[in-house]
Subunit: 133 residues, 2 copies
Amino acid sequence: MLSQLTIGQLAKSSGVHVQTVRYYERLHLLGPAARASSGYRLYGPEEERRLRFIKNAQALGFTLREIDELLNLRVSSQARCGDVQRKAIEKLQCVKAKARDLRALARALERLIQTCRSGQPTDHCPILKSLEK
Amino acid sequence: MLSQLTIGQLAKSSGVHVQTVRYYERLHLLGPAARASSGYRLYGPEEERRLRFIKNAQALGFTLREIDELLNLRVSSQARCGDVQRKAIEKLQCVKAKARDLRALARALERLIQTCRSGQPTDHCPILKSLEK
DNA sequence: CTTGACTCGGTACCGTAGTACAAGGTGTAG
DNA sequence: CTACACCTTGTACTACGGTACCGAGTCAAG
């Protein structure tokens, strides 16, 4: 039995918590696991790949719901690569917009910090004043 | 009685929901409001400013907890402008880091989208494949 | 004086992504 | 055989920022 992992081993090797694996199972991101006679969940390489998929997609900013969609695209034979591409492009737009907003925010903070001469009592602090406008 | 606002008027003029105002009161972001004989909350210009402060700080990416800290800095006479500046600089670092991460993510998505030739069945989709690595 | 809009307090619920804990069963090393 | 780590299910709780609903009281216009 090569790489029949218990939930704890899978969790450890994937860098998530045991409860998280079960949480993903509840969300159907992982299918019902095979069971040993004891009732213990058993996992193989397929589940390890799936967990890696989830983690990587999360790192790319996909929510668990979106990851579920991607996983469903993968199993559906009707689904085309273009469907996946479309979702990626959509997500790219989101990510770019968010990055733009953050840059604007950084500029606003920089402006505030510039105008603030430290050491004055806070009732004259230009940062606090500017937040009241 | 100029500008003695009911909670609904305050909420409307500030673009938040009535429940949100009460929620902020629970969190002590707004102090206990003055009351009319009916028990209705009454607000003046000070509370309007405070609510504007909260909204502006939120737009700058501060959490409600951080905003609470900023508000406390404002009332404490010991607090100095430099304390506020320090918090703003800290937040700026955060925001910049987040923006960097998002840009990296956008690049990763762009690379994936580039390598994807649509129309192939999803079992050969390079985006999905790359998420399993 | 009724109707409708507003307010009160309290409580419960939403989504997101987990995390914690309890009471019991299992597996293994010494 | 015992100790201890691990597993099971189920439930409840966390943080975050609200949002919804309830029954009852209040206010203003017609």
